[in-house]
Assembly symmetry: C2
Homo-oligomer: 335 residues x 2
DNA sequence: ACGGACTACGCAAACGATTGCATTCAATTA
DNA sequence: TAATTGAATGCAATCGTTTGCGTAGTCCGT
């Protein structure tokens, strides 16, 4: 701007006003300045702009904290956030916590320093203190949780309808003739694990089946599934169906069951949760609950931007639930 | 800082110096100021710092442009970049181009405005003009390409050893008895497609096999693979093996071939390229070339940071090749 | 007692923009 | 003709830091 001002023999203030199309500058001057700027491809220094406006205007950078990146669900969510944010003129600062509380704290600090206008976060698995999040809100940085929410904090959040998703899936298993349905869930200190279990339990009750504790296991990955499933199948009263907390676990069950000589879905039905890449790769293809990560991401970004732009009140915690959808494929019988 | 200065009855300059531990401030004052700052949890305004230093010091934000996010290889790369960058004190601004040239241009502009210290990019599929990249280097923003590089630009880059990876994979097929090996590749205007094809061709030559054009097809996704594979298998002289440019395509072939009643690998061998989630989910598990995305990401970040910090000369284009590894599983015979 | 050296600090200008207020100049009005 | 008005522009402060340079004060040596 200084250069433009010098070249055209005007003051920097005039240049500034001309570039922002202020009517207080005469038409000719305005156009001359604008053209000159264009020709010498001038563009404003955002850093300076931000400094000037730091009191009033927030930045347009959204911080996103992800537990891991190489993960179907989290990628989808990130994708959703990116789409929503970029279409509304925001950009993303992305960091992964590696499921570590300490790293999460560091990231929060760094993001605060870097003046993000808000943060979208899914907690690390080992996060049990929430001071760092409270610091952020205290500093006026809006926060939106997704997937793993923090029940202790009354913050905005968007989650998937774990309860109904599981309930529908298990109902489907029952309706296609399954009577002894095993449940492989994650450790119950996470809300999502609890909700899915409740969906399972209530589906059983709804159809008058009793819940057999022997059929409920904590297991949320393939290795564990391959380890514990043979014993399940050797029970005198073996399960005729499995519901798994994610596709990965379901695939583990599938591979064990096939290896043991059972056919799927005739002898054993299997249902997963995610509907990621894996679901259409296994043979038969996996019946699973679609988790709609992209939608979760979009909603989260929408809430955050609402908070930033003042459309949503900062005091009110906006809570959204994204509906799931049961995708019936080859690992369950058709109704 | 102004507040601290006022409270402690010194000048802002003194506070600044004290906080940066300058020896020109007396020990007592320095400590008093530092303590006061800590107690009132002051932390510097990066925006202002940057503005002040914009002439000399670059920011610590690395721009990353990804064609898509929900994609095993790109997630892995992003993961590698994140690890390397965050461990060296940089953070990431991530944007996806959606394989669109226009979006790519927009993103470059936005990143330039936001003063990233450098950009790591894989071109969108439909990018054929490179002005936007040249603008960036002209503006002094270092650029590192990964995966899809731009042959017209002599820029730093890191790619996977597509040639040797394919060569070894096809050699493996030949060594396990395959004689008519089909090749499903991507369109040849991408370097990676060309290199993989050359690896295929040279492996055939090495073992004295002739290249049959009828066995070479442009096909890089599952839907196409499922469409064209039946005809391949109905040829009078059908292929006894397939090499596919990625796992997804390989899975498509696998599912068709199984459905047609052939057994894998006894009747037909299949080899993919990626070693993503899918490879261990299909049945039998997929033999494939491990692409080591995380390593690619790390190398890319390493180069970029080298460029930014002056360890690497900006004129010299650093070109790194990440070695692949053949992972032999169930879709090929064992040697 | 006075010059020199050294310590410890403050002043003020920068970084690149924005903006309230003052100023200039010409045109209009009384 | 003098006063009023309005349009067009400039001045200077501001955002939060950093830093070159100047200066007050102290101590020392002669």
């Amino acid at each position: 701007m200084k250069d433009i001002a010098r070249e055209l023999g005007v003051s920097v203030a005039t240049v500034s006003r001309a570039l922002s199309d202020s009517p207080s500058i005469s038409r000719e001057r305005r156009q001359a300045i604008q053209q000159f700027a264009r020709e010498h491809n001038y563009f404003p220094n955002v850093i300076a702009e931000q400094l000037r406006h730091s009191r009033r205007n927030p930045s347009r950078a959204i911080g996103v904290i992800v537990p891991e990146l190489v993960h179907y669900y989290f990628s989808s969510i990130l994708d959703g956030i990116e789409s929503e944010a970029s279409s509304r003129g925001y950009h993303l600062i992305v960091a992964k916590s590696n499921e570590s509380y300490e790293r999460e704290v560091q990231i929060c600090e760094a993001m605060l320093k870097n003046k993000v206008c808000g943060i979208i976060v899914s907690q690390a698995k080992d996060t049990e203190r929430y001071d760092h999040f409270e610091h952020l809100t205290a500093a006026g940085v809006p926060l939106v949780f997704y997937d793993r929410i923090c029940p202790a904090l009354n913050a905005s959040r968007v989650v998937v309808d774990d309860y109904m998703g599981t309930m529908n899936a298990v109902s489907h298993l029952i309706e296609t003739g399954c009577k002894r349905i095993a449940f492989y869930g994650a450790s119950m200190n996470m809300m999502i694990a609890k909700n899915r279990f409740n969906g399972y339990r209530d589906a059983l009750y709804k159809y008058g089946l009793t819940l057999d504790e022997d059929l409920v296991r904590i297991c949320d990955n393939r290795a564990d599934a391959e380890r514990i499933t043979p014993a399940m199948m050797h029970m005198e009263n073996r399960p005729d169906a499995f519901f798994a907390v994610n596709d990965e676990t379901a695939i583990g069950i599938l591979s064990v069951v096939k290896r043991m000589g059972y056919t799927v879905p005739d002898d054993v039905s299997i249902c997963g949760f995610t509907n990621g890449f894996r679901a259409t790769v296994c043979d038969p293809m996996l019946t699973t609950v679609e988790q709609r990560g992209t939608q979760v991401g979009k909603e989260a970004a929408d809430i955050l931007i609402g908070l930033v732009e003042g459309t949503l009140s900062p005091d009110h915690a906006e809570k959204r639930i994204v509906k799931t959808r049961l995708v019936i494929r080859g690992t369950t019988r058709h109704p």
